[in-house]
């Protein structure tokens, strides 16, 4: 093998438009690593990609059990791509449990690659197979490659004197090598990555390299595979790209936003799935001056963030639904004291503890109404993992400009899903300005800016402007406590107007699909990819759909009402029981139809196509 690796394959190459591949194995089998590296190769190959990891709920379920299965799905394509794909074309399974869990998703006629050596009696039993699945006929209809991966791995390492356990641990590199061959992926970078990742142990570098090559060569040399495939370069905006998860994008966006505002970022947070990584990522950014406080609970998290805002920092708190419920009272205080505050809710399956590792969009109404009294806040929802970066900056901007809490609604799907992200240049991102207090008139802490209705942000340490804020209603002019009835009404109205006013900044809504379609599909947040792809697919089938996807849920864009009225039918797909659809019906009195899915899982494109078609046909 030696120097000349990697070779281009000499076998025939079939060109595919796009492929969905899923790697699945035991938690200990390194599937996340394998999937991630295969994604990187595909990105390097110039494909558009979208990924979705799928971790087990248990920390470390017993090896070989169904509960312990870990998966990673990748969609790579020569056309633009918005979702990690619905049903895999190719399924790679490292043990029987992984097969059991994932086979139902493999598309009919799909390709199945299995580690034959892992299908021992013991493992079959743990996975609940009474007999070997290849004997029961359940694999009929798939293209099956039942390969002795463990043995071949061992053979490649025979002369290296590695303990058996270490040998077995390398077998994911066999799968990676084989798949890299199968889809003509570039391999240099992977070899370089192995060299750097295991740099501390030259033995492991050697072992993993050998096994990776063994996998590649196996595809190239054996007769098992007649040909290989490739997916050509997608048309992608030129630039430097990286694959980024929603949580990482959010963390970086928050830090970027604060830096652009010239303020310190202060995160007060308490760990909770699936939001924890944002805290973890920001905790690792100390050289950026980012402060993270792991508080004793969610209330202290948001409380410290609000205190930090009072002190002049960008106060942020991150959590998921149950934690956000606990923050409600303090968010109400932030509404009253009118300080910037960003509250991130990475939504998960509810109610209560619900399905903590699954995705859902069922906290929109909580964000809108989940506080006592009339306490409007701004609400923004990113639509893709990479969009979390921009949405976070936007949240910081609005919080600062309008002196208001902003709730950012991400979800488990965005949080863990990854997507190519065109790297921005920090210096080219616009600055965020908080209007400073201008000394022309006598200082009053609640004197409002005429345009934004924001009060001035004056922090302790500023001489001659000492003042007190608090949760009791305050006088419109002086900001002192006031129990006056008409003043209260005025203040409630002005707080509402301030939030309404934010939409003055919005660009007109973008309508995708057919502009003069019969049916408008309205979505929000992480369903963007699935809806877009579904609308594209349906329109290509001769249907007539348009798609609008507001980024701000409060306030809604000013042109939305007019747009809604332009279409015969309005359908609102959501991963809940119908929440945005309530707001739309209420505000615009449009007979919008809910399309709901509440299974802890994102919409699949073809599923959405079917259901959209169904509604249209049913209502004909």
């Amino acid at each position: 093998m030696g120097e000349a690796f990697p070779l281009a394959s000499n076998k025939p190459v079939e060109v595919l438009e796009k492929v969905v591949i899923r790697f699945a194995g035991d938690s200990g089998d390194g599937m996340q690593l394998t999937g991630t590296q295969f994604s990187n190769e595909s990105a390097l190959a110039g494909n558009d990609i979208a990924t979705l990891p799928d971790y087990p709920a248990e920390i470390r379920a017993p090896a070989g059990t169904l509960a312990g299965v870990s998966g990673f799905q990748l969609n790579f394509s020569s056309t633009s791509l918005l979702t990690p794909g619905e049903r895999p074309d190719v399924l790679v399974v490292m043990n029987p449990a992984a097969l059991k869990v994932n086979l139902p998703h493999l598309r009919e006629g799909g390709t199945l690659i299995m580690d034959a050596d892992a299908f021992t009696k013991g493992n079959l039993r743990k996975a609940g197979y009474a007999q070997h699945p290849s004997e029961s006929g359940e694999l009929d209809g798939y293209t099956v490659f039942d390969l002795a991966m463990t043995k071949m791995t061992a053979r490649a390492l025979a002369d290296m004197d590695l303990p058996k356990k270490s040998v077995v641990r390398c077998k994911n590199f066999f799968a990676l090598g084989l798949c890299s061959w199968m889809f003509s992926r570039p391999t240099e970078q992977t070899l370089a990555w192995i060299a750097s990742k295991f740099a501390k142990s030259p033995q492991l570098v050697e072992a993993n390299t050998r096994v990776f090559k063994a996998g590649w060569n196996y595809g190239e040399t054996t007769d098992a595979f007649a040909n290989c495939y490739t997916v050509e370069k997608a048309k992608i905006e030129p630039g430097l790209y990286s694959s980024i998860t929603g949580n990482k994008a959010l963390a970086w966006g928050l830090a970027t936003g604060a830096a652009k505002a010239g303020r310190q970022l202060f995160l007060g947070s308490y760990p909770i799935t699936p939001a924890t990584e944002i805290l973890q990522d920001l905790a690792a950014m100390k050289e950026f001056g980012v402060i993270t406080v792991q508080a004793e609970d969610e209330i202290a998290g948001v409380g410290s963030a609000l205190g930090a805002s009072f002190a002049g920092a960008i106060g942020v708190t991150t959590s998921s639904g149950p934690g956000v419920a606990l923050k409600a009272e303090t968010i109400g205080l932030a509404v009253m004291v009118e300080l910037p505050l960003v509250v991130v809710n990475v939504q998960r399956g509810g109610p209560s503890t619900g399905l903590p590792t699954k995705t859902e969009q069922a906290d929109l109404l909580q964000a809108l109404y989940g506080r006592n009294g009339e306490s409007p806040v701004a609400i923004i929802a990113p639509r893709t993992p990479a969009d979390c970066f921009d949405a976070a900056i936007e949240a910081v901007r609005v919080a600062t400009k309008y002196m208001t809490p902003v709730i950012l609604l991400s979800d488990g799907y965005l949080a863990n899903g990854a997507q190519p992200w065109k790297l921005p240049k920090f210096s080219e991102l616009p600055d965020i300005e908080a209007k400073p207090w201008k000394q022309q008139v006598a200082f009053q802490p609640y004197l409002r800016d005429e345009d934004t209705l924001a009060r001035p942000w004056v922090s302790p340490g500023t001489p001659n402007l000492t003042h007190r804020v608090g949760g009791i209603e305050k006088d419109y002019n002086s900001g002192d406590i006031s129990y006056d009835p008409l003043n209260h009404e005025r203040m409630v109205h002005v707080r509402a107007s301030k939030i309404e006013g934010i939409s003055a900044d919005f660009a007109p809504c973008e309508i995708e699909g057919l502009q003069s379609a019969e049916v408008l599909v309205v979505g929000w947040g992480s369903t963007y990819g699935a809806i877009s792809e579904a609308v594209r697919a349906l329109n290509s089938q001769g249907y007539s759909f348009a798609h609008v996807h507001p980024r701000w849920l409060n306030p809604l864009p000013r042109d939305l009402g007019e747009i809604l009225r332009r279409f015969d039918k309005v359908i609102v797909p959501e991963m809940n029981m119908g929440q945005l659809v309530r707001v739309v019906r209420d505000q615009y009195l449009v007979d919008a139809i809910p399309l709901t899915k509440i299974q802890g899982q994102p919409f699949g494109v073809s599923e959405l196509c079917d259901r959209l078609r169904g509604i249209v046909e049913e209502n004909k």
Partner: protein
């Protein structure tokens, strides 16, 4: 760490323009006056002081201080104050709270801020009652106390705020009483000087709902017998003529002895830095013992790091070792690929 004001300040500089709205005769007035006085004496510029409170009669306090102030929500002042202090360590941060605010709904934030040892000052106005909601028993109300919500007497065993603070790892614990102007002032000075979280319990009379709760320790006639004035390195004596003292038994339990009956060396000597002494003092309860007043515990320096200093030290160290954060490098830190 507070920035001193340039010119000399007087109490009046710390009086805000708001009408004070406590009941006539409320102990809160006396505390307000002393805090304003001490702030002036400390020479802290008004703009560098922040008073943070929760909800309760006592929590109205920030409105009356001509400094920055935050009247937040019930029980959460330590959380708000933590954000302020960590973000801006140079500010002088004072938490004003009540027995309900700090120990009932706010108990968790209270123990955690003490544990973390932020360099802030906590003044707990303990009137052993919920004042603002008009008279229900609180976590410091005595067992059997009859109130609107305990018509047959409270069944809760009260917290000793000092004991709870000690259990949480507090580095400074003091106790004083609203009417003892001098003592209150000196405790405020000690609290301000302490590096770390200073916790001062101020026994405060609620004239309306719990009048006379501390009558024995504050009345001229009885206080000499009921107060044990703690002084660092001094023997623990009390009584009109210091005729009583505290002695430790072999098993470390305390007893009251007549000074004339024992050798001077048998009288316990107060040591703010000895945790066992703090324990002794914070648990000394019941009518057979006097009420310890003064600094029960004060430790600082090595072994007692201040939270926000650590936060900023880590930032500093990260910058030293990695250089100041470079966002473009951050964005590039994952695997990247170039699309032409």
């Amino acid at each position: 760490m507070s920035i001193a004001a340039s010119s000399a300040l007087s109490r009046k500089d710390f009086v805000s323009d708001q009408d004070v709205r406590w009941c006539p005769g409320c102990g809160d007035y006396a505390i307000l006056a002393q805090v304003q006085k001490v702030m002036a004496e400390l020479g802290i510029a008004r703009e560098n002081a922040v008073f943070v409170s929760g909800i309760g009669c006592s929590s109205r306090f920030p409105y009356y201080m001509n400094t920055y102030g935050f009247h937040s929500i019930h029980g959460r002042a330590p959380a708000l104050a933590s954000g302020i202090k960590v973000a801006r360590p140079e500010l002088s941060v004072w938490i004003i709270t009540g027995d309900g605010d700090a120990l009932s709904i706010g108990g968790n934030h209270f123990v955690h801020i003490l544990r973390r040892n932020l360099d802030v000052n906590i003044l707990l106005f303990n009137n052993e009652i919920y004042g603002l909601t008009k008279g229900q028993y609180s976590p410091t109300s005595k067992r059997g106390h009859k109130t609107k919500t305990s018509p047959m007497g409270s069944l809760d065993s009260p917290f000793s705020p000092a004991a709870l603070a000690l259990g949480a790892g507090a580095t400074f614990i003091a106790r004083t009483v609203d009417v003892e102007t001098q003592h209150l002032q000196s405790m405020l000075h000690r609290a301000a000087a302490h590096k770390g979280t200073s916790f001062v319990e101020i026994l405060q009379n609620c004239v309306v709902f719990n009048d006379g709760a501390f009558a024995d320790v504050s009345d001229r006639g009885t206080k000499a017998e009921r107060q044990l004035l703690l002084e660092q390195g001094k023997p623990m004596l009390f009584g009109r003529d210091s005729e009583w003292g505290i002695r430790l038994r072999a098993d470390a339990t305390p007893e009251v002895v007549a000074v004339k009956d024992v050798k001077p060396s048998e009288i316990a000597v107060h040591d703010e830095t000895n945790p066992f002494m703090a324990h002794l003092m914070s648990h000394m309860e019941g009518s057979q013992f006097p009420v310890p007043m003064g600094v029960l515990r004060a430790v600082e320096g090595e072994g007692y790091p201040v939270y926000e200093e650590g936060v900023h030290r880590q930032i500093h160290e990260a910058r030293e070792s990695k250089g100041p954060g470079d966002f473009d490098a951050l964005y590039r830190s994952g695997d990247t690929w170039q699309v032409e």
